[in-house]
C-alpha cells in the first residue's frame, strides 16, 4: 500500500555505514577484534542504532559473550513408538482431548505406530557460559525428539500439554502442533485456532493427531498408494498457537519429522543411496538473544521481527561437529523467528577458497536433480538438504558454516552478501575422525531423484486461478486487503481439483516466506520467469522479496477441511499475516 522506499534515519544509516566501511576496509579479523568491532565468537558487535527501538531502550540486548566451539553439536534422539495408548485412539474426540472434530481417515488408515509425547517445562543449557534456561520442549528437550517415519505406516501422535497453567513470561501454555508440509487431514494438521490448554478442571488434556502417511493422490488418480514422486523427506513439527507461535517456538517447541520410503531408505546401500545413519544429520538454526543476566530474552513489543545475536544449532550456541572424511547429508532448517540465512562453507585460513556442496532438496521434497552450489539461502521454515563431501577437506583442518546474509531487522535481509569471514559463524566442522567406508552416492553429481513433470496443458487450463496479495494497512497485515479473521474462508478449492495461485508482495521492502499448509506446490514462475533450478522442486514455502510475484500450481487431494496460508516470519504470522482457506468436498 505505502511504498516504503524512504530514507533511513541518521542512526540507522550510520550503523549500516559503519558496517559497510568495516567490510570495505578489509580489516583482518584480528584488527576487528582489537577495535572491538568483532566479538571473539566471530560476530560483528551489536551496536546501538541497528533498529528504531534501540535508540530508546536497552531492548536490542547484546547477549553476554560466549566462547565459540565449546560443545559438540547435539543430535536429537530418535523417538520410539509405544505399544498402546490408553485410552485407545478413536474417531471422535475422547474425554480430555482438545480435538473438536472427528478423524476423517482413522478407520481407513488405522495407526501402525503410536507415539506419546509430553510437552513440558524443563531446564536447558544453550551454552556453558550462560545459566540454565527454562524452556518448553516436546518431552522437555530442545529441539524435540526426531521422528523416523515410513510411508504406508500410519502414525498417531498423542500430545499431552503439561505446560504450567500459571506461566509468567513470553509464551502461552496452549498448544496446536503443526506437522509442517505433511499431507495431513485438517483436524490433525495443527491449524492455528485448534489450540488446547494444559488442563481443564484438573483434567490433564491431550490431542491425538493422525498422520495417514499416504502419498498424495492415493484416493483417485494414484490408487491405492499415491504418487511416489510426491514423497517427502525432511519435515518438522512446531507449535502453531495463533498469535503466539513465535514466542512458543522461540521457547523451544520445534523438532524434526523425517520420512523414508523405498527410495530415500535410510540405508546408503539401497535406493537413492543417500548418506544415512550417523551420516544423516538434521540441524535446526535458531537465533536468540540473552539479557544481561544471561536469560533468554524475547522482545514482546517488537513489530517487525526478532533478530538474535546468538546462533544456535540444535539448541547449542556455536557448537562443533567432528566428521569423518566422507559424504554427509545435512538437513538444514531455519527455525526462525525472523532471520534468513545465506549459508556458506568457509575456510578461515583461506577466505578466497570456495567450498561447493550439493543441494539435494528444497523444503520437504528431494529436487528432481541436485544442484552444485557455493551457498544456499534459507528463509524461516524452509528446509534445505545438502550433501557435503569432507573427503575434499584436508584432514585435521576445520571449515565453518557461515551465514553471510546481512540482516538488521525483521523486514528481511538487505540483499548484501557479506564477504567470507565477515558473517556469522554458526557451526565448526572438524575433519578429525578417521576415514571410514562411504557407500553413499557412488555416482558423480548431479544426482537424480523423483521425476517432476510439469503440469499438463489440460491440467493448467482446467485449473482455477486465485490471487493472494500481501500488504499492510496501518501496520495491520492484509491478504487481498482483508484482515485475518479465522471465520472468513478466503478460498475454497474443491477436493480432487488443481489450482494456480498467484502470490504477490505489495508490502514495500518487507520480505515474507509464505507457507501454504497441506500439499506442496510446483512453482510455475517467479516474476514472470521460470524458477531457478533450486526452486524447481515441490515446495511449501515461497519466498516473497520486495514486489515479488510467484505463480504456483497446487493440487488439493484426498482430505478436506480448513488450512491456513501465512507468512512464516513467525512474528509477522503472530501479527495476523494469515488467511484461512478450506478444501471442500467434491
Amino acid at each position: 500500500m505505502y511504498l516504503l522506499r524512504f530514507k533511513e534515519s541518521r542512526l540507522v544509516r550510520r550503523a549500516r555505514t559503519n558496517r559497510e566501511e568495516i567490510v570495505q576496509a578489509g580489516l583482518s579479523r584480528r584488527d576487528m577484534v582489537r577495535l572491538g568491532l568483532l566479538s571473539s565468537s566471530g560476530y560483528l558487535v551489536t551496536r546501538l542504532g541497528l533498529s528504531s527501538r534501540t535508540a530508546d531502550v536497552a531492548l536490542a540486548a547484546t547477549s553476554p559473550p560466549t566462547r565459540p566451539w565449546i560443545e559438540p553439536l547435539p543430535i536429537s534422539p530418535i523417538w520410539q513408538p509405544v505399544a498402546a495408548l490408553n485410552p485407545p485412539p478413536q474417531v471422535d474426540p475422547l474425554p480430555g482431548e482438545g480435538r473438536t472434530r472427528p478423524h476423517q481417515a482413522l478407520t481407513r488408515f488405522p495407526p501402525q505406530k503410536l507415539y506419546e509425547v509430553h510437552v513440558k517445562e524443563a531446564q536447558h543449557s544453550f551454552h556453558p557460559d550462560l545459566p540454565l534456561q527454562t524452556i518448553w520442549g516436546y518431552n522437555g528437550v530442545v529441539p524435540g525428539p526426531t521422528y523416523h517415519i515410513r510411508y504406508q505406516e500410519p502414525v498417531l501422535v498423542r500430545t499431552y500439554n503439561e505446560l504450567p497453567q500459571n506461566h509468567t513470561g513470553f509464551g502461552v501454555p496452549q498448544l496446536t502442533t503443526h506437522l509442517h508440509n505433511n499431507h495431513t487431514p485438517s483436524e490433525s494438521d495443527g491449524f492455528p485456532m485448534d489450540f488446547f490448554p494444559s488442563a481443564i478442571g484438573g483434567t490433564q488434556l491431550f490431542y491425538d493427531q493422525h498422520y495417514p502417511m499416504q502419498l498424495a493422490g492415493f484416493s483417485k488418480q494414484f490408487t491405492p498408494f499415491g504418487d511416489t514422486r510426491e514423497s517427502l523427506s525432511t519435515l518438522w513439527y512446531h507449535d502453531h498457537r495463533v498469535d503466539f507461535t513465535a514466542q512458543n517456538v522461540y521457547k523451544g517447541l520445534a523438532g524434526f519429522f523425517l520420512v523414508f520410503n523405498d527410495k530415500d531408505t535410510g540405508d546408503e546401500t539401497t535406493g537413492f543411496r543417500l548418506p544415512s545413519g550417523e551420516f544423516d544429520i538434521p540441524m535446526i538454526f535458531s537465533d536468540k538473544v540473552f539479557d544481561s543476566n544471561g536469560k533468554l530474552f524475547y522482545d514482546l513489543f517488537s513489530f517487525d521481527g526478532i533478530i538474535g545475536d546468538k546462533f544456535t544449532v540444535n539448541g547449542k550456541i556455536q557448537p562443533f561437529l567432528q566428521v569423518h572424511p566422507r559424504k554427509y547429508r545435512f538437513r538444514w532448517l531455519d527455525g526462525g523467528p525472523s532471520r534468513f540465512y545465506q549459508l556458506f562453507l568457509t575456510d578461515l585460513n583461506n577466505l578466497s577458497r570456495v567450498i561447493p556442496f550439493e543441494q539435494i532438496a528444497n523444503d520437504g521434497n528431494l529436487l528432481p536433480l541436485s544442484v552444485t552450489v557455493n551457498s544456499t539461502l534459507i528463509a524461516v521454515a524452509e528446509r534445505v538438504d545438502v550433501v557435503v563431501d569432507f573427503s575434499k577437506i584436508q584432514p585435521g583442518t576445520s571449515v565453518y558454516l557461515e551465514n553471510r546474509a546481512q540482516q538488521f531487522d525483521g523486514r528481511g535481509p538487505t540483499g548484501v552478501v557479506l564477504p567470507a569471514g565477515r558473517g556469522n559463524l554458526v557451526l565448526r566442522f572438524d575433519v578429525v575422525l578417521p576415514p571410514v567406508a562411504d557407500n553413499s552416492l557412488p555416482q558423480t553429481p548431479p544426482y537424480k531423484f523423483y521425476d517432476m513433470p510439469a503440469p499438463s496443458a489440460a491440467e493448467l487450463s482446467a485449473a482455477k486461478t486465485r490471487s493472494f496479495t500481501f500488504d499492510s494497512s496501518g501496520d495491520q497485515w492484509v491478504v487481498n486487503n482483508r484482515l485475518f479473521d479465522p471465520n472468513v474462508v478466503m478460498a475454497n478449492p474443491t477436493e480432487g481439483t488443481s489450482e494456480i495461485w498467484t502470490l504477490q508482495n505489495d508490502g514495500g521492502d518487507w520480505q515474507h516466506p509464505i507457507h501454504i499448509h497441506f500439499e506442496e506446490f510446483q512453482m510455475l514462475s517467479r516474476n514472470g520467469s521460470p524458477p531457478s533450478a533450486i526452486e524447481r522442486g515441490r515446495k511449501d514455502v515461497a519466498r516473497l522479496g520486495p514486489d515479488d510475484q510467484v505463480k504456483l500450481f497446487l493440487r488439493f487431494r484426498d482430505f478436506v477441511g480448513r488450512y491456513p496460508i501465512h507468512c512464516h516470519n513467525t512474528v509477522h504470522e503472530d501479527h495476523a499475516m494469515m488467511a484461512r482457506w478450506d478444501i471442500v468436498p467434491a
Binding site: S52, R53, D56, A58, T168, D291, S292, F297, Q476, F484
Partner: protein, 207 residues
C-alpha cells in the same frame, strides 16, 4: 447499556474537568525527566514508564501503577483529529469489542486509547470523542506530556521500523496490544478485525 453509561460518563465529567485541564496544561510544561532504563527480560515496573497521564474523565493517573500493574489491558493509539477516518473506524470497532466483552471490561480487563497528538487532545476533546464513540466504563482515553506519550508509545512497540514512516503521523498504526501485565504476556492484533474474533483473542490469551 450504552445510553446509561454515556449518561453517567457525561455527568461525571462536568465537575472535575476544569481541574483536570489545568493539571494537564501544567504537566505539558514539565521538563524531560529521567526514566529508569529497563532490564531486558522484565516486562514489569522497570519496563513500563510510570508517567503521569490524564484521562478523558479528568483524572490524573500513573501509567504503570494505576493502569497497568497487575491488570489485563487492550491498548491502542489514536488522535481525535485523525483526518482519514482510520482512528474513528478502529475506535468504533473497539467499542464493539467492548460490547462483546460486556462487564468484564473495567473488572477483568481495561481498555486504554492513547493519543498520538497530546498537544491537541485535551481531556475535554477526548471525552467528547469517547462519548461520540459510545465508550463505556473501563475504557480510558489518555493524554499527557508529549515526551511521556512518546516513551509510552515506544515501549508498547507502536513503532514502525522505518524511521521515516514512524515520524509520519499519517502512517500511524491501527494495531492493538493485548496483554496481561501480571503474567508478562502480550500479543498484538489488527484493531480493525472482527470484534468477536478480537474478543476470542482476549478471552483465550489474557483473561
Amino acid at each position: 447499556m450504552t445510553l446509561t453509561r454515556r449518561a453517567s460518563l457525561l455527568s461525571a465529567f462536568a465537575a472535575p474537568v476544569a481541574g483536570a485541564l489545568f493539571a494537564w496544561s501544567m504537566n505539558g510544561q514539565s521538563a524531560a525527566r529521567s526514566v529508569p532504563k529497563p532490564r531486558p527480560g522484565a516486562f514489569g515496573s522497570e519496563y513500563f514508564p510510570n508517567v503521569r497521564l490524564h484521562t478523558h474523565e479528568g483524572d490524573e493517573v500513573r501509567f504503570y501503577d494505576d493502569l497497568l500493574k497487575g491488570n489485563s489491558a487492550i491498548i491502542n493509539v489514536m488522535y481525535t483529529q485523525c483526518q482519514d477516518g482510520r482512528c474513528s473506524l478502529i475506535t468504533s470497532n473497539l467499542a464493539a469489542l467492548q460490547r462483546e466483552l460486556g462487564d468484564r471490561v473495567g473488572r477483568d480487563i481495561f481498555m486504554y486509547s492513547i493519543t498520538l497528538r497530546p498537544h491537541e487532545d485535551t481531556p475535554r476533546l477526548l471525552l467528547e470523542y469517547a462519548a461520540r464513540h459510545h465508550v463505556g466504563p473501563g475504557w480510558l482515553f489518555l493524554t499527557g506530556d508529549a515526551d511521556d506519550i512518546e516513551l509510552v508509545r515506544r515501549r508498547l512497540g507502536f513503532v514502525n521500523v522505518n524511521p521515516v514512516l514512524d515520524a509520519d503521523i499519517n502512517q500511524h498504526t491501527s494495531v492493538v496490544r493485548i496483554g496481561n501485565e501480571r503474567r508478562e504476556r502480550w500479543c498484538m492484533a489488527p484493531g480493525g478485525t472482527n470484534p468477536r474474533y478480537l474478543a476470542s483473542i482476549v478471552e483465550s490469551a489474557v483473561l
